[in-house]
Symmetry: C2
């Protein structure tokens, strides 16, 4: 094990931070606790991260996967792809718990606030894009309120994962998408094929 401890230590520290945040929440993340769990000296962690917020931001960033913006030409398929990453994750996935704790902590830390706002936007943007593409194709009406639609779809999945702590299954995803696409009120499909 050569002297490249730095890089390995960094990964261990970030992993420990994620674990702590997932298990005990943002407030349980302290340099001391992270040091104890990561087996990296407390002083070393202080040298690399100037504040708890910076550490948490790096840690959360390390577990995020970039979201693709699908464009299959079919809204339903695009939406399924958008929420595909949600289906894979188990409800007790660290990502869910970390995000829930991050959202709460963001209310009291401007840096975290900006960071989590970016994360949320990154999750909503593909949805918005997919809907705009569908609007251009005429698959959804020109009068569709895209912001409201994003709020509905995004909200359904986020609430299920972060608040209800339920898994997003293929079945639940299909039910939500079917209901959202078709709407609540009784109606008949548009004559043009979609």
């Amino acid at each position: 094990m050569p002297r490249v401890r730095s890089e390995e230590a960094r990964r261990e520290v970030l992993a420990a931070t994620v674990e702590l945040m997932a298990e005990q929440g943002f407030d349980a993340v302290s340099f001391e606790a992270v040091a104890g769990r990561s087996c990296v000296a407390k002083t070393t962690i202080y040298r690399h991260w100037s504040s708890k917020g910076a550490l948490v931001i790096d840690a959360v960033t390390s577990i995020l996967t970039p979201l693709p913006t699908p464009n299959t030409g079919d809204l339903r398929a695009d939406l399924e792809a958008c929420f595909g990453s949600f289906v894979d994750q188990s409800p007790q996935s660290p990502v869910n718990r970390v995000m829930a704790s991050l959202v709460d902590a963001s209310r009291r830390d401007p840096d975290l606030q900006r960071f989590s706002a970016q994360l949320i936007e990154a999750r909503r943007t593909p949805l918005r894009t997919v809907l705009q593409l569908a609007q251009l194709r005429g698959e959804v009406g020109a009068d569709l309120d895209i912001d409201a639609a994003v709020e509905l779809l995004f909200g359904a999945f986020v609430v299920r994962r972060l608040i209800l702590d339920l898994p997003v299954t293929d079945a639940s995803r299909d039910a939500v998408l079917d209901t959202a696409l078709g709407g609540l009120l009784t109606k008949v499909p548009a004559p043009q094929g979609g």
Copy 2:
């Protein structure tokens, strides 16, 4: 100032707990901090509440308003009524912040978990009921997935309030309801009237 301090002290303690939770989160709620803010001796608080969880549950309960289940005969009006209480609250309302923090803390405390699950159910039940009534009236199809519909509606408002920290205005509420009721896909209303 007579000897009915008990009752007054109780209110002050619960109010201080709510404030603390709203401003600094669940973890900042300690018997010490509550005592300092409420001007009630720490030992007195310990005598009345056996644990922090019990104190928080009482405090949250004290700020909740019961949700009526409207039954106007019209789904849209019922839904507007369901979300009417959301419109009044400003985004920085203590209720929002308290609930956000409670949801996060619930992951680590079984008692809080049960409590917050009850709260969530209490918010979702009126929605489910008005949808079922609409289904009986034929206003929505018999094949409507009510659970999915609840998830969509509930999610949109909860995410807006707890995660995005945006106010629920009449305009945003109407947009969400219009979009949900009509659905995303292009369509025409059902010709039949009931």
